[in-house]
């Protein structure tokens, strides 16, 4: 997190947006840092019966109860496998707090208009690409930038 702060103060150009790069399966995804409240290690998730399948349950984060969503299931990928690299990213959207499970948290990158590209949708889009707002390029790698609000708000 300290690294994050350092970068925030360094670069505050208008178009530059900071993303936390996470790994889900073999792909890299970027989540806009302004929605991120916290990143916590995986902990005991209490199952909630009869809810959406992509909600793994709820956790206790310092006395608050927070629902945890599986991005994998929401994107139509295979179910999560919990390892010691698994993290829960705590996201704050419209006053609600929600945790999303990722396989690994990599780094923080700053992307501006020059190195992001809008993606053109094709008719063969799968569930995943619906929540990708654009593609970012950093150090020769491609990062799918997640529309985290849409991902959480849409049922």
């Amino acid at each position: 997190m300290e690294q994050v702060k350092a970068i925030t103060t360094e670069q505050e150009t208008e178009t530059a947006v900071q993303y936390i790069v996470v790994r889900i399966g073999n792909e890299q995804y970027g989540i806009n840092i302004k929605y991120i409240d916290n990143i916590v290690r995986n902990q005991k998730i209490t199952r909630v019966p009869k809810t959406q399948t992509y909600y793994k349950g709820v956790i206790n984060l310092r006395g608050e109860i927070i629902p945890v969503m599986s991005i994998r299931l929401k994107l139509g990928l295979e179910d999560d496998e919990f390892t010691d690299k698994t993290r829960i990213i705590i996201v704050k959207i419209e006053g609600a707090t929600i945790g999303v499970i990722v396989d690994q948290v990599r780094e923080v990158v700053t992307l501006d208009d020059d190195n992001t590209e809008k993606i053109t949708r094709t008719s063969r889009d799968d569930a995943a690409s619906g929540y990708i707002s654009s593609i970012g390029k950093s150090k020769g790698e491609l990062i799918s930038l997640l529309d985290i609000v849409g991902l959480i708000v849409e049922n």
Partner: protein
């Protein structure tokens, strides 16, 4: 100095007085000769007038003043109380309420003078005996008249030279100089505010060249109950005195005109003058004291009845409540930490456990007292209904009577704030749809006057509020027909529908069976709103009805919202909490005792057939239950229905803090929330009410 800091007090007290007026008016209409009631009304009206005046709300003051005149006529036996008069008086209260609302929102009373109401009030006074109205008006003026004769105070007021000069100057210019002693009522709380208003009223009418004690001291309330001022003005003595007396809780104002200029460099004469004044004042005093003596008697009772209460901001209570919640979680943590296995820990555990039990007792008591602080009698909600029913009487042209009981039943403040509208809706519903017209009632052999009952009582950990009427009851056939007509259900569905299901239709959005849309109810937004509001408060609504005999709507609400006693149960590896309030018994039942009715599992328990609900299946708990010869059944009750919840094992009773699960996760109705256990894990709370 300004009066805005008193605004809160003003608003609170105004509402209290308005409520008193409303309550007492209802009584007065029924017992026009009840002198206690008349006195109570008079007191409330008078205080209201005084407060409005103090705060500078002239329109409100005028209206209350005219209202007070009417009451004073009634009190003196010069006027008869009739329904027309009460109508106008209620309009008056409504208008006053509008003023108060305006003030709450904008700090301004608005611009509506409510002339028609004032005219109507005055018309009553005029018509009810022309001879009688005059003395009343005279009485008002009487104190002023005596005061004008009463000269200055008995206390001396030394003038500095420059002040004497100012007086002399004024006299040279043919201005009047008055020395006035103002006495504030002994029961006055905001002395400084009253004094300030005296000064303010005189502004523009003249200059105050001297006050004793000084203006600063007066503002700081460093005076007993009177102060003296010297005013230089063009206006007449009576006008000035009237201006001062306009300020409420000013007991008296009297003084004299200084006509003799102070001789320069000479005190002899001034002293003589003082002597003179004190001599006259003694004779004048009794006269002035007379009207004043009346007032403490009337205000005395109100101040005497003030109970030992403190107004506390609800937010502060919320903070306190949250702290108690945290304390309980911490305590639960300690409790689970103390259950260390092993022999060597046993000795240590002994005293540790004792301490924890002590802590447990303290936190439980603390919780209870905090909850109690948040509790309010439901009276504050109920109190406005008699008035409403009275209005409905007139509006609907039906005769009805409202009977209330259990007004002292207490509920959490947050519930109190929300429960008013739903109850009001149910009452209107009873009045409009429930009760038949007088003719039909006669035909059916019922009393012409319909009865609506509003009862509140506690039942276990719930509070039940019942709205009952002896009217028509719900015509389920009509409800079904309407639903079919509206396309809510098909004819086939209607044919197989039970009465209960038909009644449930009423709670669907946009369903109204009223044949005509009235002002009272029948706009199609109704019972569904009532239902959703009650459910949002964690309660539910139940209807019992018998066609031709009446219906009962029962609202069941949890006593407390945030912290409850719960039974912790285990299903597989998962822990769940069930509110103790809904649990009746816990039974160990041999598997062989399970019977089948309509292919559903039931048990026989003390003469009751209780359906079984396997929570494992209901909650999709992973894994298979262990085979055993007995099952543990938690019997829960809602109203007169029961159900048996089958669980794997019991953990025990625990005090839990209810937390919400958040916004985007979809929660089944049977989960009412979650709680954090001592070990930091989360357990879901099962709402047994939804399962019965």
């Amino acid at each position: 100095m300004d009066v805005s800091q008193y605004l809160e007090i003003f608003l609170d007290e105004s509402n209290e007085h308005l409520q008193t007026l409303s309550d007492q008016l209802i009584i007065l209409e029924k017992e026009p000769d009840n002198s206690d009631t008349i006195n109570e009304i008079f007191r409330a009206a008078h205080s209201l007038k005084g407060m409005a005046g103090t705060m500078g709300y002239k329109r409100m003051q005028n209206l209350t003043h005219d209202m007070e005149n009417v009451f004073s006529e009634v009190r003196n036996g010069n006027m008869e109380v009739n329904s027309n008069l009460v109508d106008v008086l209620f309009q008056c209260l409504d208008a006053l309420e509008t003023y108060v609302d305006n003030i709450r929102e904008t700090q301004d009373e608005g611009t509506d003078d409510n002339e028609p109401i004032i005219k109507a009030l005055n018309a009553f006074i005029a018509s009810e005996g022309k001879g009688n109205a005059a003395p009343a008006a005279k009485k008002e003026e009487a104190p002023a008249a005596t005061a004008s004769a009463a000269p200055a105070d008995d206390k001396d007021m030394p003038l500095a030279d420059f002040e004497k000069n100012a007086v002399n100057e004024a006299l040279k210019k043919n201005l009047h100089v008055y020395k006035i002693k103002v006495s504030v009522d002994e029961n006055c709380i905001l002395k400084a505010a009253r004094a300030f208003l005296v000064f303010k009223n005189l502004e523009g009418h003249g200059d105050i060249i001297k006050s004793e004690p000084s203006v600063q001291d007066i503002e700081d309330e460093k005076f007993d109950f009177d102060f003296s001022i010297i005013v230089v003005t063009e206006e007449k003595y009576d006008n000035i005195i009237a201006l001062i007396k306009n300020v409420s809780e000013i007991k008296d104002a009297a003084g004299q005109e200084i006509t003799q200029p102070f001789p320069e460099e000479q005190t002899e004469e001034a002293k003589e003058e003082k002597k003179e004044t004190s001599a006259v004042s003694q004779t004048a005093k009794p006269a002035a004291a007379k009207p004043a003596a009346k007032k403490p008697a009337s205000t005395g009772k109100t101040s005497g009845s003030v109970s030992h209460t403190v107004r506390v901001d609800i937010e502060k209570l919320d903070v306190l409540m949250n702290l108690v919640s945290e304390l309980i979680i911490a305590k639960n943590g300690l409790v689970s930490a103390s259950h260390v296995e092993g022999d060597e820990a046993a000795a240590l555990n002994q005293s540790f456990t004792e301490q924890i039990e002590y802590l447990e007792r303290v936190t439980t008591n603390l919780h209870e007292s905090v909850m109690k602080v948040r509790m309010m009698p439901i009276e504050s909600v109920f109190s406005r209904f008699p008035r409403m029913i009275r209005d409905l009487n007139k509006k609907l042209g039906k005769k009805m009577e409202l009977y209330m009981s259990g007004e002292d039943t207490e509920l959490d403040r947050t519930v109190i704030d929300e429960i008013g509208d739903p109850i009001m809706h149910l009452l209107r519903n009873s009045a409009d749809h429930g009760l038949e017209s007088a003719e039909i009632r006669k035909e059916r052999g019922k009393s012409e006057v319909g009865s609506i009952f509003l009862d509140a009582f506690q039942e276990g950990n719930n509070v039940v509020i019942e709205v009952r009427d002896d009217g028509n009851g719900i015509d389920t056939e009509k409800v079904k027909a309407k639903a079919v007509e509206k396309g809510t259900i098909t004819q086939e569905q209607a044919d197989v529908m039970t009465d209960k299901e038909a009644i449930d239709l009423l709670f669907r959005p946009s369903f109204s069976t009223a044949e005509k849309v009235t002002d009272v109810s029948g706009r199609g937004v109704g019972l569904d709103v009532v239902k959703s509001k009650i459910e949002a408060l964690g309660g539910d609504v139940e209807v019992k009805t018998k066609y031709g005999e009446g219906s009962t709507f029962s609202i069941r609400l949890p006593l407390t919202l945030a912290i409850i006693q719960a039974l912790m149960v285990k299903l597989g590896d998962e822990k769940y909490a069930i509110s103790l309030g809904s649990i009746e018994t816990i039974e160990d039942i041999p598997v062989s005792d399970i019977k089948y009715v309509h292919a559903k599992e039931v048990i026989h328990l003390r003469g009751n057939v209780i359906p079984l609900i396997r929570l494992r299946d209901l909650l999709d708990v992973p894994g298979e239950p262990e085979e055993s010869e007995n099952i543990t059944v938690v019997v829960v009750r809602k109203g007169d229905k029961q159900a048996g919840l089958v669980v794997d094992s019991l953990i025990g009773q625990m005090e839990i803090v209810i937390k919400s699960l958040g916004k985007y996760i979809r929660i089944n109705k049977m989960i009412s929330g979650a709680t954090i256990l001592g070990d930091g894990s989360v357990a879901l709370i099962i709402d047994a009410n939804t399962l019965v």
